[in-house]
């Protein structure tokens, strides 16, 4: 039993539940212990329709997509119109800058940029929400739901919470400690 000493380490408590038994009451019980939703995170092998935790998830993806698209149109116009003007050559009586061509090219580049930007944003988002030591547990994919709770550097609190989770019906609880200087 470690003493209640001042360390800079942070603790994360992960409890594994059987999906059948993991129900909103459980969360209620934990909330009642004064743990805000912000510190909680639910890990699941597939997306859960109802968001059990009421914490806002704001992702500005749509806006990024639109911005990407607009940039793409610019690129398209440069290719179809700009390069033609840079070195104007008459070909077959077609105008140097042909509107339909500009349309087609910028449509494609618009799509390209929109999709690429959206993807990058998504990837970055996915890759960097995992701060605060949340880690995957293979057993979750085997058909269970994980509830992870972030605790500050208070070791004692970590233990109480793990108790709490066990009462709530977690068939397994583990406390992870992340060295802050790592």
């Amino acid at each position: 039993m470690p003493k209640n000493t001042e360390t800079t380490d942070r603790h994360v408590v992960l409890g594994l539940f059987n999906p059948a038994t993991f129900l909103p009451p459980v969360l209620e019980h934990i909330r009642s212990q004064g743990i805000p939703d912000l510190l909680m995170e639910i890990l699941s092998p597939l997306p859960l329709e109802t968001s059990l935790l009421n914490k806002p998830v704001r992702i500005p993806l749509h806006r990024l997509t639109i911005i990407g698209g607009i940039v793409g149109i610019g690129v398209g116009i440069f290719f179809a119109a700009g390069t033609a003007l840079l070195f104007p050559l008459v070909t077959g009586g077609k105008p140097i800058v042909s509107i339909p061509v500009v349309g087609i090219i910028s449509y494609e580049t618009m799509m390209l940029m929109a999709i690429v930007v959206t993807f990058l944003a998504t990837a970055i988002k996915i890759a960097f929400v995992q701060q605060s030591g949340l880690r995957n547990d293979p057993r979750i994919d085997e058909g269970s739901v994980g509830l992870s709770i972030q605790v500050g550097n208070d070791t004692a609190k970590a233990h109480t919470i793990s108790q709490l989770l066990q009462e709530a019906g977690a068939f397994e609880v583990e406390i992870r400690t992340i060295a802050s200087d790592s």
Binding site: A20, L46, L61, T65, L89, Y107, E108, L112, F119, G143
Partner: protein, 442 residues
């Protein structure tokens, strides 16, 4: 809910089943890969020879400047439409049954696109100067000519290739994570990178789903534009029987037609090889059969509209082409093609019982693709072979070198696909689980 095992209880089994192709490999697989590699090598040799000696190794000659390479180019782009259509359109329409099919279809898309680009290079007279096609600042200050439909094509295909790679990657992230935790060795690290730290938190799930929701409609639009532009390559030209407004939509539908056929083949084979009968069930074949029936009718309708217009118009230039198809030099392949892509699918697929017969559907898939390949040839060659100056009328049939390259490339496509199967779960695991969940809830 208690008598039947819930999806949660099935999960270990699902994981095991769907990851098994990645874990266990039989000697037949190695044999298969070995054979394919030989064919690929032969094709590569043929291409090298063609580059060394000259593009004259084909049977092309004026006025028939385009032939089997361009036809194959069009064909393979068509195949690439399978994935996007299945996973894209069906996702948009929330067709639950799509789930086991999407991943293997998307794989086809990516492989097909890789192959497609190859044909552009086969076709070039001076392939070592291909970089003239790339828009980059150079000392000549000369950029590619974007007024050329071929440049529209290049742009569209680049977009499409990038998009579909992204589109297959996103839903793969959770599965990569799954594999990362279950497979050891060098692959573990690779999966590790590819999973970009996925751990299934609700935030990640939501981000992922939102991204997919945004990209799906976009990629469907790209898909339609791509093959429309391939159609433009021809309809922008003055060539009789190319210069037609229906080409763009016609090409798109044709692409989906052959694409679906290809999916059926893949679906059947994979289910057979990896015993996925639990996941790929008859209903899937039946659904695909229905889709095929629809595309058959749609395509036949468009083709008829096109030919009827020509026939009734009786414009000599166009008639020359049509006659050569109906009862001229190209009559045999033409009628063969017609029966392959219209008649046979129609008379078979209308029977519900037939649609529930996987083997039959697989065979229809084969026939349709054979037919569509010939159809691509017949779209390109006869119009070129019947120029307005009848003095220049001529015929064309691919040379041995061409055949070697075509077969080699087909082998390459199969090879890439077979290798991919060993690295990527051919059925999207989490989507499958989700599907089962929905099924149980309602």
């Amino acid at each position: 809910m208690t008598d039947r095992p819930t999806v949660w209880e099935e999960m270990p089994k699902i994981n095991r089943d769907l990851l098994s192709p990645l874990q266990t490999t039989t000697w037949t697989y190695y044999l298969w890969v070995g054979v394919l590699s030989c064919f690929v090598a032969a094709g590569a040799g043929a291409w090298t020879y063609q580059i060394q000696t000259g593009i004259g190794q084909t049977d092309l000659h004026h006025p028939i400047f385009w032939g089997s390479y361009i036809a194959s180019f069009v064909f393979w782009i068509g195949v690439s439409h399978s994935g996007t259509f299945i996973s894209g359109v069906l996702r948009l329409t929330n067709a639950e049954w799509r789930r086991p099919v999407t991943r293997m279809a998307e794989l086809m898309t990516v492989v097909a696109l890789l192959v497609t680009t190859l044909f552009v290079f086969y076709h070039l007279g001076r392939v070592w100067r291909f970089y003239y096609l790339i828009p980059y600042p150079n000392q000549r200050e000369l950029w590619p000519n974007f007024r050329s439909p071929l440049m529209w094509d290049a742009t569209a295909i680049f977009t499409y290739a990038t998009a579909s790679t992204i589109y297959i990657y996103l839903p793969l992230i959770p599965d990569f994570a799954l594999a990362r935790d279950r497979i050891q060795g060098w692959r573990k690290t690779v999966y590790g990178w590819l999973a970009i730290g996925w751990h299934g938190s609700q935030a990640q799930w939501r981000t992922l789903e939102m991204a997919i929701r945004i990209i799906t409609p976009l990629i469907v639009m790209v898909m339609i534009s791509v093959h429309s532009i391939v159609g433009f390559d021809f309809s922008m030209a003055l060539v009789p029987a190319w210069h037609s407004t229906i080409f763009a939509p016609y090409f798109v539908v044709g692409a989906v037609h052959s694409g679906l056929g290809m999916v059926v083949i893949g679906l059947y084979t994979l289910r057979r090889v990896y015993r996925l009968h639990e996941y790929v069930r008859t209903e899937h074949f039946e659904k695909l059969g229905k889709l095929l029936l629809v595309t058959t009718l749609l395509l036949a309708y468009m083709y008829f509209a096109e030919q009827l217009t020509v026939w009734y118009g009786q414009v000599p230039d166009h008639m020359a082409v049509q006659n050569s198809l109906l009862y001229g030099a190209y009559a045999v392949p033409f009628w063969f093609m017609v029966s392959c892509i219209y008649i046979i699918p129609l008379v078979t697929l209308v029977w519900p019982r037939f649609r529930q017969w996987p083997v039959g559907l697989m065979m229809i898939g084969l026939i349709i693709n054979l037919g569509m390949y010939i159809e691509r040839m017949l779209i390109i060659v006869p119009p070129l072979a019947r120029p307005r100056l009848s003095f220049q009328w001529d015929e064309y049939f691919p040379s041995l070198i061409e055949f070697a390259i075509l077969v080699g490339t087909l082998a390459l496509a199969l090879l890439l696909y077979s290798l991919a199967v060993k690295f990527v779960p051919v059925i999207s695991i989490w989507e499958e689980k989700l599907g089962k969940k929905h099924a149980q809830e309602h």
